[in-house]
C-alpha cells in the first residue's frame, strides 16, 4: 500500500493535478458528478407537472440548483471515498508514524473561498433576478381576477368580489388569467398552498396577504394548509379547478354551489 507520505516526498516532475492523489480523485469526482447530474431532473419530476409559470420557474430553479451542486457534493464524496480506500491505516493499532505536518495551503484556501463565493454570488443573482419578474407579476398590466380567501379551522372558503361576491368552498380559476388572492384567517395562522401552482402564503388573522398566480393548465389541483392549525389540519384541503374561460364564466353565472 502506497502511503501519502512517500508520494509527497518523491520528486515528481508532473504538475500537481496529474499526480496521485489528485488525478484519481479528479476521476472519481468526474464520475460522481455525472451520476449526480443524471439525478438532477428527478426532484422536478417528483414535484409534478407545473401548472403555472411560477411553478415552471421553481422547477427550473430546483433542477439547476441540483445540477450545480452536483460537482460540489461530488468533490466532498470523492475525497471521502478515496480516503477510505487509499489513506486508511488498517488494524487495531494506531499508525506507527504521523502523516504530513502541513497545516495550511494558501492556494487551496484561496481557491476554496473564491469558489464558494462565486457559487454564492450565482445563487444570489439567480434568486434576486427571479424575484424581479415575480414582483412585476404582482402588478400586471391586465387587471387580475380577485379572490378573497378565508382560512379557518379547518376549512377554506372563497369569495369572488368580481362575480357579485359569489362564494364557494372549492376554488375555480380560469386558465391563462392572472389571479390575485387576498388571503386572511378567521382564527389561527393557516398557510394557503396551491401545490401544483407553486404559490404559498400564510393566512394570518387580522391581516391580509396577497399572492398572485397565472394558471396555465386546465385540470384539478390541490389546495393544502401548510401550517399546523389544530386537530384537523391534515384535512384542511380542497380542490382547485382550473377551467377554460368559457367554463369559468358559466360557473360564475350559475346561482347554486357546484356541490353534489
Amino acid at each position: 500500500m502506497s502511503t501519502g507520505r512517500h508520494e509527497g516526498q518523491r520528486l515528481d516532475t508532473r504538475t500537481t493535478w496529474r499526480r496521485p492523489p489528485v488525478l484519481p480523485i479528479l476521476v472519481i469526482w468526474a464520475v460522481l458528478t455525472v451520476l449526480l447530474l443524471l439525478f438532477a431532473p428527478v426532484p422536478a419530476r417528483l414535484m409534478g407537472r407545473p401548472a403555472s409559470p411560477t411553478m415552471q420557474e421553481i422547477e427550473t430553479t430546483v433542477t439547476w440548483f441540483t445540477g450545480l451542486s452536483a460537482p460540489v457534493a461530488a468533490l466532498v464524496w470523492a475525497i471521502l471515498l478515496y480516503s477510505v480506500f487509499r489513506w486508511r491505516h488498517r488494524g487495531p493499532q494506531p499508525p506507527p508514524e504521523d502523516g504530513s505536518g502541513r497545516r495550511d495551503n494558501r492556494r487551496v484556501f484561496t481557491i476554496w473561498v473564491l469558489g464558494s463565493a462565486v457559487l454564492c454570488l450565482f445563487l444570489l443573482v439567480w434568486g434576486l433576478v427571479v424575484i424581479a419578474p415575480r414582483t412585476s407579476e404582482a402588478n400586471p398590466a391586465q387587471e387580475p381576477i380577485l379572490v378573497d380567501v378565508t382560512g379557518q379551522q379547518w376549512a377554506w372558503s372563497f369569495t369572488y368580489p368580481d362575480e357579485g361576491n359569489k362564494s364557494a368552498t372549492e376554488l375555480y380559476l380560469p386558465v391563462g388569467q392572472t389571479v390575485a388572492f387576498r388571503v386572511t384567517s378567521k382564527d389561527v395562522i393557516h398557510s394557503f398552498w396551491l401545490v401544483q401552482l407553486g404559490i404559498k402564503v400564510d393566512a394570518n388573522p387580522g391581516e391580509t396577504t396577497v399572492a398572485t398566480v397565472r394558471p396555465t393548465q386546465i385540470g384539478t389541483f390541490q389546495l393544502r394548509c401548510a401550517e399546523l392549525c389544530g386537530l384537523y389540519h391534515s384535512y384542511m384541503q380542497t380542490t382547485v379547478h382550473v377551467v377554460s374561460v368559457a367554463d369559468y364564466e358559466a360557473w360564475a353565472q350559475s346561482p347554486a354551489e357546484a356541490h353534489s
Binding site: 445563487l123 399546523l228 389540519h233 391534515s234
Partner: protein, 658 residues
Amino acid sequence: MTTSVTAAPSPPVAPVTAGGIMRHLNVVTGIVMGVLLATATWWVTSSTFPVLDEGDHKDDAVTILTLVAWVIGFLIGVGAFVGPARWLLGRDLTVEDEHYLAGKDAGVARYFRFTTDHKVVGMQYLVTTMVLFGFGGTLAMLIRTNLITPGSRFVDPATYNSLVGIHGITMIIATIIMVSGPFGNFILPIMIGARDMAFPRLNALSFWLLFAAVPVLISSLFLGGISTGWSAYAPLSDQANRGMDAFLVTIVTFAISTGVAGMNITTTAVRMRARGMTWSRTPIFVFGTVASVALGLVAFPMFEVAMIELGMDRGMGAGFYDPSIGGSGWLYANLFWLMGHPEVYVILLPAIVALMEITPVFTRKPLFSFTSAILGIMGIAGLSLFVWAHHMYVAGWAPVLGGPFMVTTELISIPTGLLFLVLLGTLWRGRVWMRLPVMAVYALLWNFTIGGITGIYLSDIPVDQAMHGSMFVTAHFHYTLMGAGLTGAMGALAYWFPKMTGRMLHEKAGAIGFWVAQVGFNVTFMGMFAVGLAGQPRRVADPGTYFRVGNLISSIGAYTIMLGMLTFLGAIIYSWRAGSVASASPWGARTLEWQTPTPVPLENFEVLPVVTQDFYGYGEDGHRAAAGAPAPGTPGGPGAPPPQGPDAPPQRVEVGAP
C-alpha cells in the same frame, strides 16, 4: 509562577461539619420540596383566583404558577439557593464547604446532589441527554408508526399533533445540550488546563434547572399534550390546552439554564486557560463550544420573552398574540425565529468542532487551516443572528425584506464551506486510523453535504414558496441536526468515552449500531424529501394515500434507525459496566484532557500545565517519536491499566516543545 503551579498535596479530608445544611440536601429533598410547594401553590391559587369572564385563563394561570412553584421548590430543596443566601448573610462558604460541594467524598451520592465538580455535572448531563434522546426517539417511532398507513389509524389526530410537538421540543433540548452539556462541562475545563469551571455553583445550577424542567415537560403529556408542534405558533398556542402551559414553563426554565451555562462556559474559556495557552494555541473545540453557548446566551432570552408573553396571554388574557385586541402572530414568529435560527447553530457548531478535534488525532495530521476553522465558526455565529426571517418568507409580514434575508442566508454557505475545507483538508493524505470516532466524520460529511445543499433550495424565495411547510423542510433540518449534529455527538461520545468512564467503548458493536442507524437515517429522510417534493405538508396526521409509498419507506427507515440506536446504546451500557479498562490516553491525542490520569482526579491536574505550543503538531520534526500513541498492551496503550509509579505523569506537564 503563581502558587497554583507548586505541587501540593490535597488538603486533608474535610471535617464532617463541612457543607453545612448542604449535607442534608439532595435530589430527594429537592423533589419533596418541589412537590410540597407546587401542591401548596395549586391549592392557594385555585381557591383564591377569580374566574375571568368565560375564559379558562384561571386554569392556565393555576397550571403555570404550580409548575413554576415546582421548579422553585425543587431548586430550594436541592440547595441551589444556599450559596446566595449565605452570601447575603455574609457567611460565605468555607474552603471545606466548597470541597464538600465539589464531591470530595467521591461517592456515588455526589451524582444525586448539588455537586459543583464539573466532571460530575458533565456526567449528569450525559445521562440526562441520553434519557431525553430515548424519550424523544420513542415519540418519533410512534409518529412513524402512525404514518405507515394513511388514515391516522394508530392514534387520533390530536394525539398525533402532540406527539409531533413533544418529540420536537424534547429533541431540541436534547440536541442543544448533547455536546456542550456533557463534553463542554466534563472535557472543556480539562482541555484548557483549568481545575474547574469559572462558576462551579452556577454550573450545578444550570444542570438542576434542566433536571427540574424535564418533569415539567413530561407533565405536558398528562395536561393534554403540546398539540401545536414545538414551534408553538401563536395564536394557535393561545388556543391549545394546558399542555401548552407546561411547554412554556419548560422553555423558560431551560432558557435560564442555557443562559447560565453559556455565561459560565464562556467565562471559563476566556479567563481560565492554562498559562501559555494563547488563543492560537487553544483547541478548536473550545472556540466552537464558546461560539455555540454565547450564541445561546443571546438567543434564548428572546424565546423566553415570547414564552412569558404567551403565558400572559393564556394566564391573564393579555393580548400579545390576539389580533382582536391588537396583538399579532407575527410578533411571536419574529421572536421565535430570532431564537430559532441561531439555535440551529447552537446545536450544530459544537458537534462539528468536536469532530475537528477528532480528525487530527485519527489522521495523525495537524488540523488543516486553523484560520479557516475560526473564520468559519465566527462567520456562522455572526451571520446566524441576521437570517431569521427566511423562516417567514411566506408569512407575509414584510415581503420587501425577502431579498435582504435571502442574501444573508446564502452568505452563510461561505463560512459553512470553510468548515468543510478544514475537515477535508485534515483528511487529505492523512493516515486514517478508522476507529469509531473518525467514522462519525465520514458520516457527517455525507449527511451535512445533503443537508447543506437542500438548505440552499429553501433559501431561495421562489423555491421556498413550494417547499415551505412541507416534509422537504422536515427532511432538510433532520439532515443537519440529526445527520450532522447527532452524528457528531456520537463521534464525540465514542472519542471521550474512555476519559469519562475509564473504559473503552465496544468498537464493533458501536460501529455496527452507528452504521445501521446511518443507513436507516438516509432511507428515512430520503423518503421524506420525496413526499415533500410531491407536496405533503409537515405535521399532518393523515397524509393521504397519494404519499403512501414514500411514507412507508420513511417508516421502515425509522425502524432501522431504532435498531441501530439501540445497538449503540447497548454498546454504551455494556462498555460502561464491563468494557476493557482504558489507559489515560488511548488514542494518542495531545490535548490536555489526555495528559491527566483516568479517572480524572478531583481537581484535574496535580500540577497545572504550562502550554508552549498548540496541540495539533502531528508530523512535525522533533515530535514524531513522542507523538505516536503507545501500542495496545504497552503501558499507557489501550487496554492497559492507568500508569503508576515511575510511569506516572511528571510533576510538570510540558506540552509541546520546551
